[in-house]
Amino acid sequence: MFFEDSVMMSRLLTSLTLIFHVIFATVGVGIPIMISIAEFIGIKKNDRHLQLLARRWTRGMTVTIAVGVVTGTAIGLQLSLLWPNFMRLAGNVIALPLFMEVFAFFFEAIFLGIYLYTWDRFKKPIYHWLLSIPIIIGSTLSAFFITTVNSFMNTPRGFEMDGGNVTNINPLEAMFNPATPTKVFHVVASAYLTSAAILATIAAIIILFRKGSEYHTKALKLTVTATFIFAIMTAIAGDLSAKFLAEHQPEKLAAGEWHFETEAGADLILFGSLNEENEVENAIRIPKALSFLAYGDFNAEVEGLNETPADEQPPLWIHYMFDLMVSIGFYMLGISALYLLFWKVKKWNEENKWLLWAIAAGGPLSMLAIEFGWIFAEEGRQPWILRGIMTVAEGATTSDHVGLMFILFIGLYTVLGAGCLVVLRKMFKDHPAEAEFESRYPEAAATKEVDE
């Protein structure tokens, strides 16, 4: 029965595709910038290790980009296949950013091809580095444009409804809707953070298990430093997002925070559980912190969920998503700061086992935080597909076969995910960095031995 409910199955299939795609989309946005930084410092300092780092990251990224491209194609088509009514309406208003996203993607695809196959084709290595700039621009702009579409669904602007028709369309107003700035900032910062954290995880694990070399120590320093900077950016973005929610989508913030009654000096609730009367139990309460989070003022009045009609309220379980996302964000900030502190204080060993384990956990945790954050954002606007205009049920397809397609796509993503892991593992395990370093830069490897 559940299986035959095309609205429910369309929601599940879309979630499945997006949850899978966002993993690859996130690293696709963040890793190019890490590669570019490594290559640039490598060239400037004439550090062969960092140049090799850029090369090896690029090779791994190719595989993840491939999966990102094909799952992105999937969600692009699924929008029309699963939500034909929504696309018929919204296509009139948001075709512009969708179209521009493809341009950005096109631009990135062209330069990625060039970047990958021209490592040794230029006399000056800096020319090759310059090719990484269009890749960063392309991938970050893709994230920007597609996030404006999602922002539009949260705060639809730039058109009027006249019966069933849309009129008075202003494509730019639709694109630059109130949710756009904070959403884009948050998406881009967290994608950079997560990518840096994942690369740090790899370096930490190799040092833990294989005793790593100078190459891995440099990789760790670079990635954890980047993690720290991006974690600060993400925290600022998160704070701005909460303030945005308080003003434009109070029901999402209220559901996320289990804030039922409108009140001044509202408490922030961390974790806990709800009893049958929707009363909060077992939670940590931080007095007045929600008011501060929402308005930057401890005594500001925050709208409660009871102000929203019962059939327009988001589900209350999103509270956990919100708390988990925020907790992981602070964990990343703390752990990277701790590493930097250990590194700067000479007598402390920044590569001690516990710290390395904590860093190693950071990559997977950040990716989970991305998923939690998106689930919070998307479930938090239920029951709307276009907030205040069209519900999810009105947007979905009426086709009977969505359940079957759901099974088909589970199969596909299992194969893709497993294939990606196997290929990545084989790619790096069979070709350790030290061996590649010696074969690629024999002169540098030789002088180093003399120095020692």
Binding site: V70, L96, R121
Partner: protein, 337 residues
């Protein structure tokens, strides 16, 4: 010319671009696998991989561009095609996903893995078959709108001679275009043994291509006489297409001017494809969407056209750079870089 005509022309141009670059890619996958099972892979696989590696992702974007563009310019198409094509569309997504990611997996992880090459080759023929379904149903008679929504009539689709002739045409054209391109590329690389092999493929696949074009025409006259009549009115476009086919075949047969031969192939398909498209108008999906009923509002259309021009200013130089580095750089093609 109204902006809806600009819109459809732009989209048709991109679909044509996809037809050419994707055919090269799809066919090359098939030939790579075929060469492997006939133990001739050492002759051509190096050549194919040198061409495909830097461009496979770009190929995919042409397709994304088309479907995002058509939903943007003609939002009604999202409704009708979206409702009707859930199953064939999902199958096409799965095939494209397997193909794209396995290309990367094979190329960067498992060189010469038999299973990956098989999937790559097989999907190369199945994707054109599944995508061509969209063109088939646009002729009308395959979908039905009721109070509950739009449904695709699978019985009609699978028993229609027209739909099968389109599938057949799609597959043989892919092999023909691809082998013609590889002939040019092998010649460019001065790779004589590869040239001899792919030239044979090209000559072989030319006759089914022209036969399939004819049968598709005949099947169309049965299925949609109105469209057929409009196509006859544009007879000169199809005539030019056949003329370019003869030129291409002649040049490859005498074994000279392979570059011109491939350009002739591109013109052959250009005229056939645009002749088909022009005679299809005003319908985008007969009888539900016409070019004027389904078009987006004026503001959005103008914005999209503006962005399109700006986008081209960015893309064309980048594409030229890509081609100069990998397609027309003789040293790269020969494998020296």
């Amino acid at each position: 010319m109204g902006y809806e005509y600009i819109g459809i022309t732009v989209l048709w141009l991109f679909l044509y671009g996809y037809l050419i670059v994707a055919s090269i890619d799809f066919g090359a996958g098939f030939f790579a696998y075929y060469a492997k099972i006939t133990k001739k892979d050492h002759i051509i696989n190096q050549l194919i991989s040198r061409y495909l590696s830097p461009v496979w992702e770009v190929t995919n974007v042409f397709f994304v561009f088309f479907f995002v563009g058509i939903v943007g310019f003609f939002p009604d198409s999202a409704y009708y095609y979206g409702q009707a094509l859930l199953i064939p569309g999902s199958i096409a997504i799965v095939l494209i996903a397997i193909r794209g990611s396995f290309y990367a997996f094979e190329n960067y992880g498992f060189k010469n893995n038999h299973l990956y090459m098989f999937l790559y080759g097989a999907t190369g023929l199945l994707i054109p078959a599944s995508l061509s379904t969209t063109l088939t149903i646009s002729e009308g008679g395959f979908i039905e709108e009721t109070a509950n929504g739009v449904t695709l009539l699978y019985g009609e689709l699978f028993t229609s001679p027209y739909s099968w002739s389109v599938v057949f045409l799609a597959i043989v054209s892919v092999l023909y275009i691809s082998s013609m391109f590889l002939t040019y590329y092998a010649n460019r690389a001065n790779d004589h043994s590869a040239l001899a092999l792919v030239r044979k493929y090209a000559l072989f696949w030319s006759s089914p291509t022209i036969i399939a074009s004819m049968t598709t025409f005949i099947a169309l006259s049965q299925h949609n006489p109105e469209h057929y009549q409009k196509a006859i009115d544009l007879w000169w476009m199809f005539g030019l297409s056949v003329a370019f086919f003869m030129i291409a075949l002649f040049l490859v047969y005498i074994g000279k001017y392979y570059g011109w031969a491939f350009i002739a192939v591109m013109f052959q398909f250009f005229f056939a494809f645009f002749g088909y498209g022009a005679s299809h108008l005003p319908y985008i999906l007969q009888p539900y969407i016409t070019i004027s009923s389904g078009v987006t509002n004026e503001t959005m259309a103008i914005t999209l056209i503006t962005v399109f021009i700006a986008g081209l200013l960015l893309l064309v130089p980048s594409l030229i750079l890509l081609m100069r580095l990998f397609l027309f750089d003789a040293e790269y093609v020969k494998g020296k870089k």
